[in-house]
């Protein structure tokens, strides 16, 4: 038998064979490095995973790098958390991996369209920060439970359960990915003095120059932080207000609005950036990457740590119920890849923390690690994920180190029990 006959019969040339075995070897070698379960390159290489979530988390650069490393295709599709909730509930087949903020997850997990993450398949679960995995702070004490502490919605009893478990189990509703401590953004150049309390948001000094985020469940928390710190209100649980507390809060907000305290209520990331950059607003609710974006334009903007603490949030990667076979294997490979550090370093540069901080830190330069995680002054210019200079040598991260910032969470993004009522009153506030 000549070699040419073999070739035509099996349809495999030597070149093909070499390429395939190389790919296999690569996959095997890759899996031992990144700790992913062994996956058969032939079966997963045709897989396409739709990874859907908010723009601050689902980033095309990350999907491209993951696709290159893993050998199958990951499509990044952005949808704000509210849109993602609707997709997961109404069109689950359009999503493979849902990148959920915990408050969104909290709302839709019981729809039963997600399957839990089998923790034994996540190699680095043991290295995960106790902030997310155990709901404990750096001192080993429980974290604030005002609002939705990620731990409270992280575990479920079984593969079919639609409820949350009270403690750790072998099944996670999502795999924790990123999180941060949110606070107010300020234009330090226009304010020109120290700002140290949430109450400044409603300080008449800034009349007509403040803004709140117009996502009701988050905006009302920022408002509550400000009202509480100014002594106007006292809350049992800011993350789960009673009807009376909602009423009092919204009434106070309406009075403030009528007095002209607010310049705007923003709904999207770019709106918050433009409000700040154009000087329309000097103090407002803000996300960390928005502050980075304002700074990258060369404008002095500070993500000001405040004495009452931060409003924490986090998100995680959920597996849709319909995933199985090679697609599910690929999804687990992606989840495991996610914790290996490249992604952690990428999002660190926009100010977020990774659920496995050690691998993220290992992928940052010493200068970046010092700036983003350790609260040290930068020794060289600090660049954002896309290479624009956002802080000069000598600058320190606002609020300090990872431990200082995440150790001081006062409340978490959430959905309240009285959510429906709250939204109704919020609409009244906006239309007042």
């Amino acid at each position: 038998m000549s070699s040419s006959r073999t070739k035509s019969r099996s349809g495999i040339s030597r070149r093909d064979l070499l390429k395939r075995s190389a790919a296999l070897a690569g996959a095997a070698a890759g899996s031992s490095i990144i700790g992913a379960p062994m996956v058969w390159a032939q079966t997963t290489k045709d897989v396409t995973l739709n990874w859907v979530g908010p723009s601050f988390s689902v980033i095309a650069d990350i999907a491209a790098k993951a696709s290159a490393d893993l050998g199958f295709t990951i499509v990044a599709q952005t949808a704000e958390t509210t849109q993602l909730m609707a997709k997961v509930v109404n069109q689950p087949e359009t999503v493979d991996i849902a990148d959920f903020e915990y408050w969104g997850l909290q709302k839709v997990y019981r729809a039963g369209n997600l399957q839990p993450v089998n923790i034994s398949k996540i190699k680095q679960w043991g290295d995960m920060t106790p902030l997310m995995r155990d709901g404990k702070g750096f001192d080993g004490k429980d974290l604030s439970r005002q609002g939705t502490l990620p731990f409270e919605v992280l575990y479920t009893e079984s593969a079919d359960s639609k409820d949350y478990a009270t403690g750790a189990t072998g099944f996670a509703t999502v795999m924790p990915s990123i999180y941060n401590a949110d606070t107010l953004g300020i234009r330090s150049d226009l304010i020109g003095r120290e700002v140290s309390s949430w109450s400044e948001l409603f300080n008449p000094e800034f009349k007509g120059k403040t803004a709140l985020v117009n996502i009701p469940s988050i905006g009302i928390m920022d408002a509550a932080m400000a009202l509480e710190s100014s002594g106007q209100m006292k809350y049992g649980d800011k993350g789960n207000m009673t009807k009376e507390e909602i009423d009092k809060t919204v009434d106070a907000l309406i009075a403030l609005k009528k007095a002209g305290q607010f310049r705007a209520f923003w709904s999207t990331f770019d709106e918050s950036v433009n409000l700040m950059a154009a000087g329309e607003v000097v103090i407002q609710s803000m996300w960390s990457p928005a502050v980075t974006a304002v700074k990258a334009r060369g404008i002095q903007c500070v993500y000001q740590g405040l004495k009452e603490g931060y409003r924490g949030w986090g998100s995680g990667m959920g597996l849709m119920r319909h995933l199985d076979g090679p697609k599910l294997d690929a999804a687990y490979a992606f989840l495991n890849w996610y914790l290996t550090g490249w992604q952690g370093a990428f999002i660190a540069r926009q100010g977020y923390y990774s659920s496995v901080p050690e691998t993220a830190k290992a992928n940052l330069t010493e200068n970046e690690r010092g700036y983003w995680y350790e609260g040290k002054a930068a020794v060289e210019d600090i660049k954002d994920p896309y290479g624009a200079i956002m802080d000069k040598a000598g600058a320190k991260r606002d609020g300090g180190s990872f431990e200082q910032r995440m150790g001081n969470i006062a409340c978490w993004n959430t959905v309240m029990d009285e959510d429906r009522y709250m939204i109704q009153r919020w609409n009244e506030f906006i239309s007042a």
């Binding site: 509210t82 007509g208 923003w266 409000l275 429906r420 009244e428």
Partner: protein
């Protein structure tokens, strides 16, 4: 008539003629609208919808003081926009039809009116922001000229900005139908009126306005429905400071409260239908168009 009844093929013709439009209207408007109406009576627990029959969603919407406020706010926008667009649309068309004698210039000027529409709605809207902002072109110019000391905050993120944008976006929808009906006015009619000693004002009041009212009515329907159904302009140009019916609906939709949003939607459809009916009552568009 007898011709039609005799041939069965002819009998089918009109039905076949309306079939494409009917198909589109039923699938794209009828079915979705019916779904919304059904949904507004169903029960909902935040995730799943239950086909029960309940008035709870309407009770919630109607009992809330916000609803009336939202409708009044939206109506206010619609009315101000309507008045402004009618005035601008009428004067523009009047100029084009009665002052510009040369047909080519007339067409050229008319096309000029449409130039802003060569770009997208969103761009036309957003371009106001750097112009009107606190550190925007207009404020800077006024300060440079020494007319004001402090920037005028009312220019942006205010009702003024919202209405200004509506007028900018929707005036063409008024110009086109008014221009169209004015162009149909027989010049001899005006000539005759002038010969009979009518003053220019009398000509305007007794001839031009009555003969243009189909255009005004059609334009009004466009403008009213566009404003009533908008949420994006309100959100962006008021900086989220004001709400319209649809923007409140969107807050509910975002949080998956579909039935409440549906109940609002049904109310809005009813209000808009009433407004359109009122306009059609004043002007019999069908007979005027057939004229």
């Amino acid at each position: 008539m007898s011709d039609r009844s005799s041939a069965p093929g002819r009998l089918l013709t009109p039905y076949l003629q309306v079939a494409p439009l009917a198909f589109l209207m039923i699938t794209m408007v009828g079915i979705p609208l019916l779904t919304v109406v059904l949904l507004s009576f169903w029960e909902f627990d935040g995730i799943a919808v239950y086909p029960a029959f309940t008035f709870d969603n309407y009770a919630e919407v109607l009992q809330s003081p916000v609803t009336l406020k939202l409708f009044l706010a939206t109506l206010k926008y619609a009315l101000i926009t309507l008045v402004a667009t009618v005035i601008i649309g009428f004067t523009c068309s009047y100029f084009l039809v009665f002052y510009v004698r040369d047909l080519r210039i007339q067409i050229a000027l008319f096309l000029l009116c449409t130039i802003p529409f060569w770009t997208s709605n969103v761009i036309r809207m957003v371009s106001w922001i750097p112009f009107l902002g606190r550190e925007g072109l207009f404020n800077s110019a006024l300060i440079e000229l020494g007319i004001i000391d402090h920037p005028l905050d009312i220019l942006l993120y205010s009702d003024f900005a919202v209405v200004l944008t509506y007028i900018h976006l929707f005036t063409l929808f008024m110009i086109v139908p008014i221009f169209n009906s004015m162009a149909k006015i027989n010049p001899n009619l005006i000539e005759a009126a002038r010969d009979a000693g009518a003053s220019p004002f009398q000509i305007l009041r007794d001839i031009i306005i009555p003969l243009s009212k189909t255009g005004i009515a059609l334009g009004s329907i466009f403008v009213v429905t566009l404003v009533m159904g908008d949420f994006f302009v309100v959100r962006v140009m008021s900086g989220g400071q004001s709400a319209s019916v649809v923007s409140a609906m969107k807050n509910n939709i975002d949080q998956l409260y579909y039935p409440v949003a549906s109940a609002m939607a049904v109310l809005l459809v009813i209000v808009v239908l009433l407004m359109v009916t009122a306009i059609l009552r004043v002007v019999d568009i069908r007979s005027e168009l057939a004229r």
